[in-house]
């Protein structure tokens, strides 16, 4: 029987990172297809609250380890603990959401177990011992089907491609374990949070993004986002220019989003940007240039000045409410 071990991520504020719920749903799918069990692991200074929320996700067990050393995530501290648990459980698959933490941590876990890893998987194929994964390459211009030929297989999961698992009190057993802690060559110094009243970019159901066409003036983009309860995104060019925080960047090298509605204002639609938003359900493009590549993926395109369109759009939507 296969054992699927999914790493749940606790945010610096103590809450569960929502992308972990999508990773758990993918883990459940993988357990079903490979004929096995889903287990979760959570390392924390105090895992009790998040572990409680996870008991209703459909996992067999939640393995928690509490230690002051787990307060601030460090790959060097987390990886040995997770690898040791995986060995004890005889896990066949280890996974987590493709967040900054997931991408930093999992290859280190994989290296410790001499295992192959697939990053950012978007689908799980096959059954039994013949499981393969689909993952994007070349900025999402190619999708590859890959097989990992090591006894343990490691995957990071693209959250937007899997539904979120349900939370709440459930049947899963919460088990504690005490990993041996090794001296770390890395020390946590500080974390500077970008605070926002808006929803998190990767979790928002509506995203309004601005590009070079905004000339650095994001007021209209933000006003429309606030009306729609949306997150604000941006193209790489405007992040590079320092107009908005880097955290806003949607694309191959930024965040991948797949909201219900994606509004791109003043974004030309370079390959690297499209890689981050092409899976959105409905795409609206507002651009002065009728030849902009963004129009090739937009469901609704409007060729006009965004500074004229966005206030009118806001007014029009307001009237519907």
């Amino acid at each position: 029987m296969s054992i699927v071990l999914i790493v749940a991520e606790q945010q610096p504020d103590g809450n569960l990172r929502k992308a972990s719920l999508n990773a758990i749903a993918a883990g459940k799918q993988l357990a079903e297809k490979s004929g096995g069990e889903l287990h979760l692991v959570l390392l924390s200074k105090d895992p009790s609250k998040v572990a409680g929320e996870l008991t209703g996700t459909g996992a067999k067990a939640i393995h928690t380890a509490a230690a002051p050393e787990f307060e601030h995530y460090l790959a060097e501290v987390y990886a040995p603990a997770i690898a040791a648990l995986a060995q004890e459980l005889k896990a066949t698959f280890i996974g987590a959401a493709s967040t900054a933490q997931g991408k930093d941590l999992l290859p280190r876990v994989a290296a410790r177990l001499k295992s192959a890893m697939a990053t950012d998987i978007t689908a799980i194929n096959g059954s039994g011992a013949d499981i393969t994964f689909t993952r994007p390459m070349w900025a999402g211009n190619v999708f590859a089907e890959v097989k990992l030929n090591t006894p343990v297989q490691v995957i990071s999961i693209r959250a937007t491609e899997f539904p979120a698992a349900a939370t709440g009190q459930g049947a899963a057993e919460v088990k504690t374990f005490q990993p041996k802690l090794e001296a770390s060559k890395t020390k946590f110094v500080s974390f500077n949070e970008v605070k926002s009243a808006r929803p998190e970019l990767t979790e928002a159901s509506v995203v309004v993004s601005g590009g070079r066409g905004t000339k650095g003036d994001f007021k209209e983009v933000e006003a429309l986002a606030d009306l729609l309860g949306a997150a604000v995104g941006a193209s790489r060019a405007v992040c590079d220019a320092g107009w908005v925080p880097n955290d806003y960047q949607v694309g191959q090298t930024g965040k991948v989003v797949a909201p219900k509605l994606y509004i791109a204002a003043g974004i030309s639609g370079a390959i690297q940007h499209l890689a981050g938003m092409k899976s959105s359900k409905t795409i609206v493009a507002i651009n002065k240039d009728p030849e902009a590549p963004i129009f090739q993926v937009a469901d609704y395109g409007l060729v006009d000045d965004l500074f004229k369109v966005l206030p009118a759009l806001r007014e029009g939507i307001q009237k519907l409410k």
Binding site: R17, L74, A75, T99, A100, Q101, K103, D104, L105, P107, R108, A110, A111, A116, A118, T119, D120, P136, W138, A139, N141, V142, F143, A144, E145, V146, N149, T186, K187, F188, V189, S190, N192, V194, E200, V206, R236, C239, D240, N246, D247, Q252, T253, L261, I271, Q272, K281, T282, I283, V284, A298, D299, Y300, G301, L302, V309, A312, L313, G316, L320
Partner: protein
């Protein structure tokens, strides 16, 4: 101090990548090749650190004869010498990290700087594997708080800073919802994010000088690394095409479509 940097050869990010009809590979005809953009940022950061703390920058690339082009590019930017691991045929991240481990053990650098991911595989793994194989600390996704390489930007504290006793390095990392700062003991692995720096252009004298800089040739067999891939790529496919929608004449029509057709507002 000694800094080891990587220079992977990848398809030019501006080129259009198409899959062969049988799904065995991408269409290579007419493609241009470059140094992986994230690696180029690593070379630049290595050169800046070496200039500040008087050191040597060694660049390494793995591949057939053609990767010498990327090594020469890094040498023209200012790297002192190059190591070429001559290998043709498939290679996965385990194999790459295994080879780099041997090169690092031979060279004994204080810091290894790698791009956070290569823009062909998009795996984002090798730096982390290498750190674990070597038993070193890692600081991935190194980034600067602001991004423009303006005059005032250049005067700001960089994201990768060596401690006064030169025994550790402080790195600002781009993570979800903000920036995290770590202190890592040397030797250490650092992987670069986009906004770490603006790589310099290779000058003409730099290009001329690069021609006489040494490139040492190594092989996987000579390094004692089994590079048989464990990641098997079975098939490549194009992403599902998104059909282009319609252009609407005005805002009123757009609102009407979003409300009644797409039902999203």
């Amino acid at each position: 101090m000694k800094i080891l940097v990587t220079a992977k050869r990848v398809e030019d990010p501006e080129s259009k990548i198409k899959v062969k009809p049988d799904g065995s590979d991408i269409v290579k005809e007419g493609l241009k090749y470059k140094i992986n953009p994230f690696d180029e940022i690593g070379v630049e950061e290595g050169l800046r650190l070496a200039a500040k703390h008087t050191g040597e920058v060694v660049v390494v690339s793995i591949g057939g004869k053609e990767v010498q082009e990327q090594l020469r590019h890094a040498l023209a930017m200012g790297a002192n010498r190059a190591v070429w691991v001559n290998h043709t045929g498939p290679l996965d991240q385990l194999g790459i990290a295994g080879l780099l481990q041997k090169v690092a053990e031979k060279e004994k650098p204080d810091i290894v700087l790698l791009g956070k991911q290569s823009i062909d595989d998009d795996q984002n793994q090798v730096g982390q594997y290498l750190a674990e194989f070597l038993g070193w600390g890692q600081a991935t996704f190194a980034s600067k708080v602001e991004s423009l390489e303006s005059a005032e930007e250049k005067n700001k504290t960089p994201a990768v800073v060596l401690s006064a006793d030169k025994k550790s390095v402080q790195v600002v990392r781009e993570v979800d919802n903000g920036l995290a700062t770590l202190e890592v003991q040397l030797p250490a692995i650092v992987t670069t994010d986009l906004r770490l720096n603006q790589p310099r252009y290779a000058s003409l004298p730099g290009i001329m000088k690069a021609k006489s800089k040494p490139i040492e040739e190594l092989t996987p067999a000579g390094l004692g690394v089994d590079v048989a891939p464990k990641i098997q790529v079975l098939k490549l496919a194009s992403p599902p095409a998104r059909k282009a929608g319609i252009k609407v004449p005005d805002v009123a029509t757009l609102v009407e479509k979003l409300h009644n057709e797409a039902k999203v507002v």
